[in-house]
Amino acid sequence: MIELRGIKKTYRLPTGESLRVLDDVNLIIPKGKIMGVIGRSGAGKSTLVRCVNGLEKPDSGEVFLDGQSLLTVSASALRKARSKMGMIFQNVNLQKRKTVFENVAFPLILQGDDKDAIRKRVMSLLDQVSLTDRVDHFPSQLSGGQQQRVAIARALATAPPVLLCDEMTSALDPETTQQILSLLLSLQRSLNLTVLLITHEMAAIRQVADRVAVMEAGQLIEEGSVLDIFQKPKTETTKALVQSDAHLGLPASLQAVCQAEPVESGYHLLNCTFSGAVAAQPLISECTTRFGVALNILQANLTTVHGSLMGKMCVAIELSDHLPQVVGFLKESGLTVEALGYVNRNDWSLS
């Protein structure tokens, strides 16, 4: 388990100004779980992981790895603690002049393991990342995805219980990203790794993370299980991230005419989120038969979040006296309903 307590970090810029990058960050990463950290560029995510393994010293706060404080230990104890935390970077950081084998063997050589043990371990690692046919290749002879797999094998060489990943898939194409993420997930499962996954891609979080923390301007603004965050995002930033992942969001022309105040005649716009068994229920048609109102689906999206189905849709309901009942029914059926506003009938035809 990793625990971050009250982490603060301020950079002094060459201009003399100071830049607060981490502002009182508290985070617990439970053993054997994948904790995703997401946020916009410059939010302080990289700085946060770097504080975990001591590449960066926070100004104040504490970092605990299985109860051991990492900020107060000696240099040699820190090195020892680091061998319990593998780290993977966006720009892989392999040694160009070393072969795949030598790169993966490197952390073991640093430890002073004996040759036979290293050979065995490296071959088994390369087997796990399906690179046994590339043992003697140099990094320049590998694709980006293959290089990242070498980096994963290297990070796992010393059998660390913790894996820190900073934007590990950001430089890869969508398909390779999928491969790397499923590799990460299967390794995490089989080795019971505790993972801190830094990313700006909500899709990566949705697919592999157990919990997610959202960062903005150096602060953790939201933390919870992935399903919770996807279904009931609390802050605007999180909502935007979730929406962009589901490719949802009202088009600008519709947004322009959507108002918070009820209108005489027109439509009420709702965002509905549902998960699991709810997805199988024909709720829309039921609304029509029960209340005699038509629900018009404007946008919809169904994905898997952390292994279970989750759907999002944006519906327009024709305004009538039944509106409260319809919304109530939807909520009772297990949907998370968020009111977006009202659109005048006249505006509707315009947009």
Binding site: R79, M85, N93, Q95, R97, F106, L110, R154
Partner: protein, 217 residues
């Protein structure tokens, strides 16, 4: 005008090669550790010693700014002490080597700086000690650039060794001055130049081949 000169050219070439090889070896052996220290000794470096770093850096700059011909004369007492004489091939090696140390140190420094900082951090996060970082990461990754630095040093020393020859250092420079200049023997002068050009070409070719064989990027 070239009759009977073959032996002179051969032994002069040999002397020049000897001077260059010996002084390059000394320059690399002493300049590389200096370059490593220039790289890692600064504030925030992996073997940080800020005050010693400033001192070494200043020393290198001072030595680099003294013209070679002056350095050679200034070093005569040291040369006498080390080889027992201030003229001849062995005596020329002393100022050549001492002049080349800071030169190579700066080249090595630049080569090491070119290794991406993110790789240094990656290895740091794997628990590398400063010594492991230097020997197994930085110097290893910088090898192609260091090889090019060695070649550049050796080629530069060809010119300086000719300069050393003019003041009694032996080698091809000595031949060019004694026969070519003092006796107005133009053919000897030309042959000397041709030999030097061939020598430099060979060294460059060898150095490029060496560096490329080390490079896997």
């Amino acid at each position: 005008m070239l009759t009977g000169m073959t032996g002179v050219f051969l032994s002069a070439s040999w002397d020049t090669i000897l001077m260059i090889v010996c002084s390059t070896v000394v320059a690399v052996l002493l300049g590389l550790p200096m370059g490593v220290f220039l790289w890692g000794g600064a504030l925030g470096g992996c073997i940080e010693k800020p005050s010693l770093h400033r001192l070494v850096s200043a020393l290198v700059n001072i030595m680099r700014s003294v013209p070679f011909i002056i350095l050679m004369v200034a070093l005569i007492p040291i040369t006498r002490f080390l080889v027992g004489s201030s003229i001849g091939t062995a005596a020329a090696i002393v100022p050549l080597a001492i002049g080349a140390i800071p030169f190579f140190a700066r080249l090595a420094h630049a080569s090491l700086e070119a290794v991406p900082h993110s790789l240094v951090e990656a290895c740091e996060s794997m628990g590398a000690t400063p010594w492991q970082m230097i020997s197994r990461v930085i110097v290893s990754e910088a090898m192609p650039a260091l090889a090019r630095g060695v070649t550049l040093t050796a080629v530069t020393l060809v010119g300086y060794s000719a300069m050393a020859g003019t003041v009694g250092g032996g080698g091809l420079g000595d031949v060019a001055i004694r026969y070519g200049y003092d006796q107005f023997n133009m053919p000897v002068m030309l042959v000397t130049i041709v030999i030097l050009v061939i020598l430099v070409q060979l060294m460059q070719w060898l150095g490029d081949w060496w560096a490329n064989s080390l490079d896997h990027s």
